[in-house]
Symmetry: C2
Subunit: 190 residues, 2 copies
Amino acid sequence: MRKKSFGPKTLIYPTPVWCVGSYDKEGKPNVTTIAWGGICCSKPPCATVSLRKATYAYGSIRERGAYTISVPSERFAREADYFGMASGRKVDKFAATGLTPVKSELVDAPYVGEFPMVMECKVVNVVEVGLHTQFIGEIMDVKVDEDALDKKGLPDIQKVSPIIYTPEVGCYYGTGKPLGKAFSIGKEIK
Amino acid sequence: MRKKSFGPKTLIYPTPVWCVGSYDKEGKPNVTTIAWGGICCSKPPCATVSLRKATYAYGSIRERGAYTISVPSERFAREADYFGMASGRKVDKFAATGLTPVKSELVDAPYVGEFPMVMECKVVNVVEVGLHTQFIGEIMDVKVDEDALDKKGLPDIQKVSPIIYTPEVGCYYGTGKPLGKAFSIGKEIK
């Protein structure tokens, strides 16, 4: 198949839609939305979020050494988009959306109470990459709404219904249908 | 909503299913599947993949200073799963699946010719996190199959049909329905 070249761009699928919570100097809760992030290590369990230095969240996470990742479900796509546009320097984004900042008991940051899946992270490394700074956070806990669990008590992605972002194109998509079990469906191949 | 605590786990949705291509010392093409990765910077455009030191790909990427990310579409879920189970130390995974290693003209690594979306990366930083090492790669080019483009010539995620992985649960899922335009649907919120 002939491929079209797009040049050196941050263009790949899928990227996550994660809402990153932090407290500012005065203890005001803030939340911003990112697509530049992921898991980066199993032991210790670590996740990353990348932020521009110009953002309000950057200063807060630098100062407090902590952040949370709240996973919005599809029905919160509007709120997640708003979190990514407004600045915590100017507005209280929790107040504007009516969503609840819940103080983490494990790290110095708030998460979004209404979102079904939450990760609490303590910053263990800060990597200067360029326009963005990457915060590597050790995962202290993961919390999931009880009504988003399956029969075995594990998180059901179709109930969490996380959002995918398409860079360059700039659209949000939901989660699709199950395709099979990992470390299993490939066994047919010798 | 009451939340269940899962402890310090690499448990968050969505994570990507990306197939990472590299050449070994002898120039044999290899490919492995990861879910620990993401974009980490816009300028210079950079992406990350995390690998355990024990993997064959780790040594190859260290030595060659390059890797590619090939995005499998849903119909290649079996092959992607196989790439994540077999070791390039023992088998030629391209030969086993009948897929084509295409030599990148920009970096010293091969990509999967049949996969619809490809990113070519030059390693610019190596971050030791713990069990996993994070390779930060500068994105030199992104290539997309011409039949996976929309009318404007941009990649159509529903044609690329990337796969989502669910850590802990260990299942693959497809991409869902469009939810709206970024930097737009949140504007209704003051």
